[in-house]
Subunit: 342 residues, 2 copies
């Protein structure tokens, strides 16, 4: 257990290091107003804090830097109670100018978050599987091509273009689409395949000739797995951080960020509310000296998405946490209003 004084010193060191990115020495701390002890006393305390694992040295006679354990303690016990909602209106003001769609809200939020923090923001769109089917449509383009369009009650639109195999009759496709619209309206996308398979198949078989081929085809058009959408803002902000001057680290980072699937993997097992992953607490090796702070947001349709900020372990945790808190609140609100039609 830490004493009051150790706690204070740990806080000052981390605050200072977050600002400067340089190891913090005892003299610098002693000079602070909040501190009324001599450098020597601080040194003793720092030695203790290091022994306990909250601080580290870069070499024998250097100042101290926070360890991951130190950051963890800082986040859990020092700044946690200080979360404010003072920024509560930041996003709202920006959204006032008429951003309507879910995707636009999300994209704009990513942009703003990264601009406000100088970190990289990542937003996962709401998982569309909870959304309910509004309409399915097949529109012929030419004799052998068509475009399929699927619309959900949340305004989400999926579409694909296809060539139509010679052995499928357009009229059959049409019939099938009619049946599907009739029977699958209002079904959450996540159950679409199941419902189709169990309750609708027999209808299709009944009304449509050469059922097998057309069915397989339909399945391909509408029910292919669609990944969650990812919005990233401020990728270049990483370059501003002094700890990432090493081009090798940068390369693996940027390579990862180019692959949407890899980015999504960063969020495995994310839970409700705010979550802080410091350094090696992140599963992915590429970001083992980054910190990832995530928060969830909700749409009116009971879907949830994730907003996150990615930066060096030396992150402005206090600011980022309160900001994410505010944003998740505001996004939830904005999307709820939109969904309910105001």
């Amino acid at each position: 257990m830490l004493t009051e004084r150790q706690l204070l010193i740990l806080k000052v060191i981390i605050d200072e290091f977050i600002k400067s990115a340089n190891p913090v020495g005892s003299r610098a701390i002693a000079k602070k107003d909040q501190i009324n002890y001599s450098a020597a006393t601080i040194r003793n305390e720092m030695a203790d804090l290091e022994e306990m694992g909250y601080l580290e040295k870069t070499h024998t006679s250097s100042g101290r830097i926070p360890s991951e354990k130190g950051y963890r303690y800082y986040v859990d016990h020092i700044i946690a109670p200080t979360i404010k909602r003072s920024e509560i209106n930041i996003l709202n003001k920006i959204l006032e100018n008429g951003y309507f769609e879910v995707e636009q809200v999300v994209q704009k939020a990513a942009e703003v978050l990264s601009r406000l923090t100088n970190y990289t923001s990542i937003i996962l769109g709401p998982a569309i599987y909870e959304a309910k089917l509004k309409q399915i449509q097949i529109l012929p383009l030419s004799q052998h091509t068509a475009v399929s369009i699927l619309v959900t009650d949340t305004g989400h639109v999926e579409h694909r273009s296809f060539s139509i195999p010679f052995d499928i009759k357009p009229s059959d496709l049409e019939k099938m689409v009619n049946i599907l619209n009739d029977r699958l309206y209002g079904v959450p996308l996540i159950y679409l395949h199941e419902k189709l398979h169990h309750e609708v198949v027999h209808l299709l078989r009944k009304y449509v000739n050469d059922f097998e081929k057309a069915y397989a085809y339909l399945d391909m058009m509408f029910f292919q797995e669609q990944p969650v959408k990812v919005y990233v803002g401020g990728k270049s902000n990483i370059l501003l951080q002094p700890e990432f001057r090493d081009v090798n680290k940068l390369h693996s980072f940027y390579t990862m960020m180019e692959d949407e699937n890899e980015v999504i993997k960063l969020f495995q097992r994310h839970e409700e509310g705010i979550q802080v992953r410091i350094g090696k607490e992140n599963k992915a090796d590429v970001i083992k000296d980054f910190s990832l702070i995530t928060a969830t947001y909700h749409t009116g349709g009971d879907q949830t998405g994730t907003i996150a900020l990615l930066g060096p372990t030396r992150m402005e945790y206090r600011k980022v946490i309160s900001l994410l808190n505010a944003f998740s609140f505001e996004m939830t609100e904005a999307l709820y209003l939109w969904y309910k039609g105001d």
Copy 2:
């Protein structure tokens, strides 16, 4: 005018520098099989080439590196005739596995291009304005929200979600959409607005109450300028190039790449066929020590798009040019087949 020998030496120097990224000295050249002169002779020729502006020195006693003029000459007179179509099947093989849509073809091509070259690939989707209107649709989601969907004959789908103002009647919207579909079918998107304004407006006014508001609204939904789609692959490849170890250069580069509009600006005034822009020949300052090589491709619908590779001025011009040549050919072919329905 350059002599045979100067030409040969210039070629060897540039080839060598492209490989190694290090200034090339006279001895290194003399050792080459193709060269039957002593280092001293080479030195004299190099001095001449430098005087003429094709070569540069990094300092008084360094080897030579090509100047931008040197690269320009190399591209225009030395390698131009060597373009082959040997890679003609690269993309085809990849597309065989069933990539159907225009967007998928384009995206895949960007990926492959950057992987094959280790440069950054940029592809502009075909300008959709040439595409013709297939269908307009408004689908109500809730009482006060709707989604608009616009489909072209090329399978391109644009959609937006909207809140419906209280003072617009859904029934009016519906009427208007019907009229639009009737009158604007087959019209190229680029003329949509014009045609709407001149030929269709009076119909709308006739049949729809409270015409003004609804019309303004409609205009907003369907006829907002949509930028060309941009696909970028291999952004992280830039980090592999020794000349871009400087983090400051990287920052401006990556910041630019995050902004689609900025990326599109790079392609102002691009013309039919292959085009090479070396260093400061590029208008944009950010890429003034990059080279940008562009080629055009076509879809069956007479639309054209652009594929490009962005790398250091020390680029493998020969390889890149022949590759872009092949890709533009193959993409044109693949898209033509798709459009014509095979």
